[in-house]
Amino acid sequence: MLSFLVRRLAGLAVTLLATALVVFVVLEILPGDPAAVILGVSATPETVAALRTEFGLDLPAPERFIRWIGGLLTGDLGTSYGYRVPVAQLIAERLQVTLPLAFAAILLATLVGVPLGMLAASRPRGLRDAGVMVFAQAGLALPDFWVGILLVLAFAIGLHWLPSGGFPGWDAGLGPALASLVLPVIALALPQAAILARVTRSATLEALQEDWVRTARAKGLGAAATLYRHVLRNALVPVVTMLGVRFSFMIAGAIIIEDVFSLPGLGRLMFQAIGQHDIIVVKDLVVVFAALVVGINFLVDIAYGIVDPRLRRRA
């Protein structure tokens, strides 16, 4: 297990370094000058040059790359060209929105999707199964941003129960902060719940065909007990895989949902940074996103081992 962990962690580091190099080179090639964006169309070339010097953009590319990577290793992500505050502070602020949003959505999706999938599998081709499948189809077909807009129409404009968007910050109080996350979480969770319901259903159905299920039933174990003690555990492996994959999607989906609800999350920061050519923020964010995805995959691998001891031995 230890060597497995070390190998995985080394792979993780190499992946992140490669990502950093690629994003640096790509942004180097991309035309655009942050100083020009800040100063607009009336500024003289001399003024723009003065600002470039302040940002250190006049240094040779290899030197800038080494400075950047060196900074990343020591936890210094640099200063945003646009906001003029440390990028680490910006990202930390945005994570306070994106992480709760993504985790709450994945939790809600799991709490809704997994039981629904099992419910459907417990009586295949029955009425409940059909109902769940209709929900799953609809959930897959409806884009999350559209669900978001519908939710705003109903609960913000129609009923005035919840805000239409924005995020007052956690220090504005738990109530207002949570209230502003309710609709985005639902919008983000719904399609994921639908996918999870389908995956759980087919995994459960497959597990139900296994010999050991027949053995358990033959020993006299009740249907419910068989389902929870034996089937669920085995059906969870594909579900956990799916959760890992979906989490990456969730971070990506959050970008769109953050836009619909004007939430100050990582996704909107990325959008904005690209628009303003705040390249230092773009570079740092790509690395952060890569770290999130790679890290989640790592956790999923470990979760396999916990859910299914056979995989642990094989590794």
């Binding site: 964006v37 003065a50 906001y83 913000a156 968007g165 999350g265 705040d278």
Partner: protein, 493 residues
Amino acid sequence: MPYRRSVLLAALVAGGIASPALAQDKSQVVLCQTLEPTVLDPTAGAAQAIREVTYGNIFEGLVAIDRAGKIVPKLAESWQISADNLVYTFKLKSGVTFHDGTPFTSADVKYSLERAVAPDSKNAQKWIFTPIASIETPDAATVKVTLKQVAANFLYGLGWGDAIIVSEKTAAANATTPVGTGPYKLDKWTRGDRLSLVAAEGWWGGKPAIARATFRFINDPQAQLAAIQSGDCDALTNFGAAEALPTLKADKRLTVTIGKTEGETIIAMNNGKKPLDDLRVRRAIAHAVDRNQVNLGAINGTGTPIGSHFSPAQPGYVDLTGRYPYDPAKAKALLAEAGYGSGFDLTLKVPPPAYARRSSEIVAAMLGEVGIRVSIENVEFPQWLDRVFKNKDYDLTIISHTEPLDINIYARPDYYFNYKSQAFVDLMKKVDAAVDDKTRLALYGDAQKMLAEDSVNVFLFVLPKVTVSKAALTGMWADWPLPATPLTDLAWQ
């Protein structure tokens, strides 16, 4: 069932906490605008959003531009201009302090102006300050600015956000922790979402009606619409989705006004590139574009058509919209005369704003009608700046020039239009030297005509300022002589 009822009640209570209180708090206002400022120092960047939040609220200049576009006293109580128009003597207001308690004196004015004109200055509008030869401070309440040459727009420039007065003690940190002399100071900034200002104690102008104002930044027009309809926003300072206006106008709770801005929207043409270096071709393009249709199709007719690079909101405006009437036959004839009877290919590089993207489709179709095959290339703003603006690597582009009174950009031979006219440069020099209003405005008229005659660009319309506010909120600026949302003008009925 009591259980169900309590759940419903809980939901209603939660809703009550989340949505704004039903009774309007008359000391507060929530203003929603499209873009967020990245910094709060107007001397550190050109972004319009910086002025929208800070102008007249956090920072003040010696003079200000009021809602009608007129120069009014601000930190300078009065001023005198010498007979040769070279020496400006400002008498400063007394009893003014910065938000940190430091008294405001003539030394701050000297510092601010010298900082703006310094060789390493990063002020985006350095032209305002370059005429300055020297600044003297005979006493704490007097500033004497001597110019190198007559500059007719010097005072007007001092009214811009780029000319605000800062304190030497705090200037370096103004980007994130602004310290000004204005009626409001920064309370809290949740970057990416909202920024709140609170009334500053002891402002020289008294106590404003609004004690606390929150600016919310909502990029998406649909989300803006939802925010005003749900009551989350008290006003949208400049609403972008013109097609939703009929719905909003029909809503009795809201007031909609459509005003003018200084944003001249143009089809810029690369005058230095074949075949656009031929006046007949540029005139043909001007005749081939029906600006009323573009105005209608791109922004629902909310813009004001123009015929030269000048806003109808400015004194000195000359209506030249009739110079190139929509006439495809004439356009074709001009093209044939220039030797392009069988047409040619052009690219149209378009930056992201909706007005530009939508206009580009219509314009391309209209030019296609006269045989000019236009391929549209959408670019991001940084790429637009790099390729179109800096490297002049383009044929056509559509952009709005939002700085007020910026007709002088045509006097820069290396500007991206590639318009090289010594006659125009000389004319702008005359404008600078014309301190008499009547003469100057007449010269501005000549300049507009010259640009129209040379058909430098196709002049489409000035962008509207579309204000949507709750009916009980008064004092929003209808027009934008410069982009600003002064909070001291606001009050609840």
